[in-house]
């Protein structure tokens, strides 16, 4: 199961992911079209800044997701195979239980209606729009295993470089 992982050290704060997300969830699905849509499309992930670091926040699609557990109407549900948490707009009543329980603050509000809006991991795309748009490789779409392998290799080369440096010193 592929998920969206974040490499914090790589984020440049350009917010291209936010823009691509909004465009992908617009009526026209094009930047120039979306720019003139009324109401404008809503993004589902957020690049925040804390302690001088840029932190892209995107729904973690948690196992046994708290937003699903607290949803009173069954609007929020989790796909048992893919693990994707999505919400059924026809059932959402905007009670914001999900918003109150989400530890990442990634439940947004629809621009027209008082309904929850969140990452649906772009079901129509091979790679989610945010990952596709990231010019810095800060967002990675991979399985947990693949991502850990990526991080291990990066850590290994860092350690190796340091070890070589120490040996020379």
């Amino acid at each position: 199961m592929k998920e969206i992982f974040v490499r914090l050290d790589r984020c440049q704060g350009c917010k291209s992911c936010e823009m691509a997300c909004a465009v992908q969830h617009s009526a026209s699905k094009s930047l120039y079209g979306a720019a003139s849509e009324k109401p404008g499309p809503v993004r589902r992930l957020y690049v925040e800044s804390a302690e001088g670091i840029r932190v892209p926040l995107v729904c973690r699609h948690c196992e046994d997701a708290p937003c699903v557990a607290v949803c009173r109407t069954g609007a929020m549900s989790q796909d048992p195979i893919k693990g994707v948490v999505d919400r059924d707009v026809t059932r959402c009543v905007g009670c914001w239980m999900c918003a109150m329980i989400c530890p990442y603050g990634v439940i947004g509000q629809g621009s027209e209606r008082r309904v929850a809006v969140k990452c649906d991991r772009c079901p129509d795309m091979d790679v989610p729009a945010c990952v596709d748009a990231c010019p810095a490789g800060a967002l990675v779409y991979a399985t947990q295993g693949e991502f850990m392998e990526l991080m291990r290799k990066a850590a290994a080369s860092k350690i190796a470089r340091e070890a070589k440096g120490l040996a020379r010193a």
Partner: protein, 615 residues
Amino acid sequence: MVKDVRERSIDPASQEMLSIAQRAGIETAWDRFEKQQPQCGFGELGLCCRNCNMGPCRIDPFGEGPVKGVCGATADIMVARNLLRSIAAGAAAHSDHARDVAQTFQLLVDGKAPSYGIKDQAKLERLMKEYGVATPAALAEAILEEFGKQNGPIQFTRRAPAKRQELWQKLGIEPRGIDREIVECMHRTTMGVDNDYVNLVLHGLRTSLADGWGGSMIATELQDVMFGTPTPTFSEANLGVLEPDLVNVIVHGHEPLLSEMIVAAATDPELIERARGQGAAGINVAGICCTGNEVLMRHGVPVAGNFLQQELAVATGAVDAMVVDVQCIMPALGALSGCFHTKFISTSPKAKFPGMTHMEFHEENALQTAKEIVSAAVMNYKNRDPAKVHIPDIKSKCMVGFSVESIVETLGGSLDPLLGAITSGAVRGIGAVVGCNNPKVQQDYGHINLVKELIRNNVLVVNTGCNAQACAKAGLLLPEAADLAGEGLKGVCKALGIPPVLHMGSCVDISRILVAAAAIANALGVDISDLPAAGAAPEWMSEKAVAIGAYVVGSGVFTVLGTVPPILGSQAVAGLLTSGAKDVLGATFAVEPDPMKAAALMIDHIDSQRQKLGI
């Protein structure tokens, strides 16, 4: 990953070289363009501002995030300020080119530039009369004063129809001095100055007019005086003009001050003899971009290609020297030349590049430097690696050299036959098609399809720059191309022996199109905005094109852009330029990437203009 080269260009020579480059692992602008994807949406919409260090600021086009920069600038202000800076850069490029030409002219008349001469005495005398001066020295001084004038007028703006001049004065956009308007753009857009988008756009128009009817026109006119006013001549275009057994020297950039001297040096018997001594059969000069157009128009020097072919030319492995001056020269040429024997020679103190050999060019000893440059190319011939040489056997013949003067002469001494053809409807109208290449558009697809569609509908096309080179490569600049035109235009072309597409020169030579438009408007007793004419830049990329677009619309010509300018983040600015301007200037911009639809917009406009004129 293997790319389909047919998706990158419609030019068979480009396709062939792109395949070769791909196999050899050579990177081109198209590869780098792909690596840039996705490009920044804020930039595309014009919604980022780096003008002060409280920023950089961005405005969320969807209204969810910030709607103002730190200073409080809204999307409208940001977009208008960014647009103004682009216009300033474009106007600066053309006008600084003009300054170099004017200074060379002054050195020439002072006897300090012996390499140059007066080639068009009649034009020199006309210009002296126009300026009301008695000597060439006084003309040089008067023209150089245009740059530093504080309160105008720029003399050549007086060539515009009286109605247009009155309109500019009424709107307060008559340029006061070339440098002044450009400087004021920078002042107005710095933190905390002009924050009214209409006021900003109006100054943008004023600055662009100082380019079109100032800098660009000065460059064209003085170049004609020094190097000759172009007359119809034949030549060839595309990478196939490079020769396997000749020393190939490419001149690339924009100013004929250098390329004219290179062309002269290449005919030097001593250098030709030296080339023979090195095993070559002679010396071949070919052009790329507008410096190529300058020597094409005046000497029939062949064209190796347009903007996106500069790297492909080097990739043939047959270029012994790539000699550049200023503008549109990719810094990528340095590393690329390093993969071949090619000497990448920069010549301007203003333009240095990684991987270059710098052979600085000065007007006082121009021919001597040119000879040294050609000699360096000759001596480099032996370093060619035959295993790396691949020249596509593709080139087309073309007829070029249509200055306003030569068009009038072709017509038999006056514009009347053309006016007659327009009035009768044989020629439906005039389409001016200009501008660059841009990897956002399949190379030449926009240019060729737009032009073909226009001539098919009896619209006579005048063109410059990379569009003209695209048309040269596609065989549209030949009298025989009249067969592709509608019946009316075909008849006119056949009667006069001219192509349906007239190459009027380099990008600064768009000023020739302004002069022609003013002359036609004056002959009909109307303003330029009343003419059955329209402009287009199907593949534009340079800031110079932004300045050109602005002065063309500011002069009253409806203009269609083929790539989207970074203004759509502000509906107010976009609305002003695409519709509001109509009531003020009598012309607007339109944006239409599809060349067929762009042609339809131009033709519709031409038809409605004809109706209004009652013809």
